[in-house]
Amino acid sequence: MKHTVNIPDQLKFRAAYLFFVLYTIMVGVGFVPYPRDVYEVAGQDSWLIVILAGILVHLVMMIIIFCLKSYGNTDLHGILQQTFGRWIGKLIGYLFIIYFFLVYVTILMKYTEFIRTFIFPSIAEWVVAALCSFLVVYCIYGGIRAIIGTSFIFYLLTFWLNFLFFEPATLMDFNNFQPMFDIDSKGVIQGIQITAYTLLGIEVIWMLYPYVHNQKRTMLYSQLGILGVILSLLSGVVISIGYFAPNQLIEQIWPILTIYKIISFPFFERFDIFVVSFWKFIILPNLIFYAWLITRSLKRVNNIKQKHSIWVVVVLSSTFIMFFKSREAINQFVEISAEIGIYFVYVFPFLILPFAIYRRIRGANK
């Protein structure tokens, strides 16, 4: 495997698209139950947690881009093999692939659960999986430009959902935020941990970096993307706290979808049903990016064609989700993979950082 990645110019995209990429990959199934999860540990100060965790994510992103810049024109697997040697580098690369696969499966599972609760109670898991997979396969066949284009279009299709919070916002009770800052350090740490699960997705930059045309602007646009996500998460949390009574919020399984239950237009009475179906547009970029991460990684590590490996991903994931039927089993699986995610996304960059600094110093001395 070559360490440096040379992408032909026609496959590269401009850095500005990173904003859409990060927005669409980070906003996902995790957003829907998030306000309740964080409320359980952080109470009415949850908004504070979002801001703190947001700062952390910005910081980690900075470190990732710093590392990428120090290593020159390469991606995750190039860096791994340059730092740890061929075999250990490959091993860590495989671990990453497994992690990407776990995330892919959790997204599918969670979405299937929505569909079953809200629209079709008896639909089989593999039907939902197959329906999503067709579009994923289509995008992988289309290559990186198709994927970036999809994320751009799906961003335009979905970001207006944020404006729907306006009506619930008028029903908010600001007393629910009192007393402020009633939170201990344990709550802060747990809260940040939960938020970090929700904000997984920044790892995509490890693989996308070589594809960026004007790499100097990577930092700006990826940070903007994260900012957009944090703001949208923050508005969700603030409105959930104001809208529900404290004990009520804890009982909601999907607070964000429940909030949509109050929205009704003369021409469209039950908007929540629409939102659940529409959520597919939010899920699809997630699935597409993770599928791309898996197949692209396999290509880099083992030189397997993406057009072949994607079918393996589809079949494996569709069978995998059939084993998880109840809400408890799904939750357990999601929790475990999210915990693993913390290490791959937030701890790993700190591991690479010293090597990157060393490289920079050595480069400067030369």
């Binding site: 039907v127 009574a245 009520q248 009982e251 429940t258 009475e269």
Partner: protein, 382 residues
């Protein structure tokens, strides 16, 4: 070219699969539930449900049907009702739930919870209690030009809420206030008059049990304390003797010993603040700006002194009424204004009162009511 055919095939295949997924629902074969009433059945051991459905048929338009059925749970009532009609019952269009007074006094949360749990039912369904048994009220056949009884109730309440005659009473509000520590739900009270459903006032709940009904005149003051007002109107009455010297001669026929004023409220603000936590005392400050829309005796309103006296009298009556209402809630031990929740916001989590402690302490709450009334205008004549 080959690629294009492939992708078109893919799209076709997907749409085919998607269409196959959907359950078909033909409008003519559905009985759309628009409202339902729940009562305790005759034996007292179960529920009597009256389900108002709206059906479409090719021969007749807008067919309304009332189905009665019984069961132990609201869901059982629903499935029993399904066997009493040839149409498939669906509840996505439910507009209002009517709970008979007798049932409401026992607690309605189990049934509301059932609605809440169902993703097909909107959170903006109106929760109401009825003065008469619910099956009797829902049986009303005069619903103006509304196509069905559910839509009529929905329009009636929506109009009343917009005109600020009753409190906001969606299912979301009900559950929110039920769940909140230190707050109790308030819902509209419906009744039947001349074969038509009307609003009679509001019902005060303790947790999920109805404990008291309030007529429409007092409802004004409840809403004033709840601070939801923007455009409601109320009437104040004083002995006319106080104004004797200023009276011009009209309306001197009967009833001339009473002076009644209708005041339309322009702006009001109710501020409830914790004054002293140790003895649970609160300051209730009401600012009320209004305009006079009707007056039964001819007063010279351009005279600042008369206007001032009027303001003073209204203020006094407002304060008395609010004090009376607050005393009543203490006596009944219900907290429709969420004052307990307000109390709790001043304390850290471990020092807050729990729901049971709140109930024990609410009768000891002290209120210091202070109103400030201003008459801004009095129409186009003096």
């Amino acid at each position: 070219m080959k690629h294009k055919i492939k992708s078109i095939l893919l799209i076709l295949l997907t749409t085919l699969l998607l269409a196959g997924c959907a359950e078909e629902r033909i409008l003519e074969e559905l009985g759309i539930i628009t409202a339902y009433g729940l009562d305790i059945n005759e034996n007292g051991d179960g529920l009597l449900g009256s389900i108002a459905t709206y059906q479409f048929s090719q021969q007749r338009t807008n067919e309304n049907q009332l189905i009665f059925s019984t069961g132990r749970t609201a869901r059982e009532v629903y499935s029993n009702a399904d066997s009493k009609t040839a149409k498939q019952l669906v509840n996505g269009q439910l507009r209002a739930g009517l709970f008979g007074q007798e049932l409401a006094r026992r607690g309605i949360m189990p049934y509301v919870d059932g609605l809440m749990r169902n993703p097909l039912i909107s959170d903006s369904v109106y929760i109401t209690v009825t003065d008469l048994p619910a099956y009797d009220v829902i049986n009303a056949t005069d619903f103006e030009e509304a196509p069905n009884i559910g839509t009529y109730i929905y329009r009636l309440l929506e109009h009343a809420i917009v005109n600020e005659n009753v409190v906001q009473s969606t299912m979301h509000e009900f559950v929110k206030n039920f769940m909140k520590v230190g707050a109790d739900p308030v819902v509209p009270l419906l009744t039947k008059e001349n074969d038509k459903i009307i609003i009679r006032g509001i019902g005060l709940f303790q947790d999920d049990r109805l404990v008291e009904t309030v007529d429409i005149f007092d409802t004004f003051f409840y809403r004033l304390i709840l601070d939801e007002y923007e455009r409601a109107e109320s009437r104040f009455t004083f002995p006319a003797d106080d104004y004797e010297t200023d009276l011009n001669n009209y309306g001197q026929g009967e009833n001339n010993d009473q002076l009644s004023v209708s005041v339309h409220q322009i702006r009001s603000n109710t501020d409830i603040k914790l004054a002293d936590a140790s003895d649970f005392s609160f300051d209730v400050d009401i600012t009320f700006e209004g305009r006079i829309t009707e007056i039964t005796l001819n007063l010279d309103l351009s005279d600042p002194e008369i206007l001032k006296k009027l303001e003073e009298d209204i203020k006094e009556q407002l304060e008395d009424k609010v004090n009376e209402i607050l005393a009543k809630t203490k006596e009944l031990n219900v907290d429709p204004f969420g004052i307990g929740a307000l109390y709790n916001t001043h304390f850290k989590k471990d020092e807050q009162l729990s729901a049971t402690e709140m109930r024990e302490n609410y009768p000891d709450f002290q209120f210091n009511v202070n109103a400030d009334v201003k008459i801004m205008r009095y129409g186009i004549t003096e």
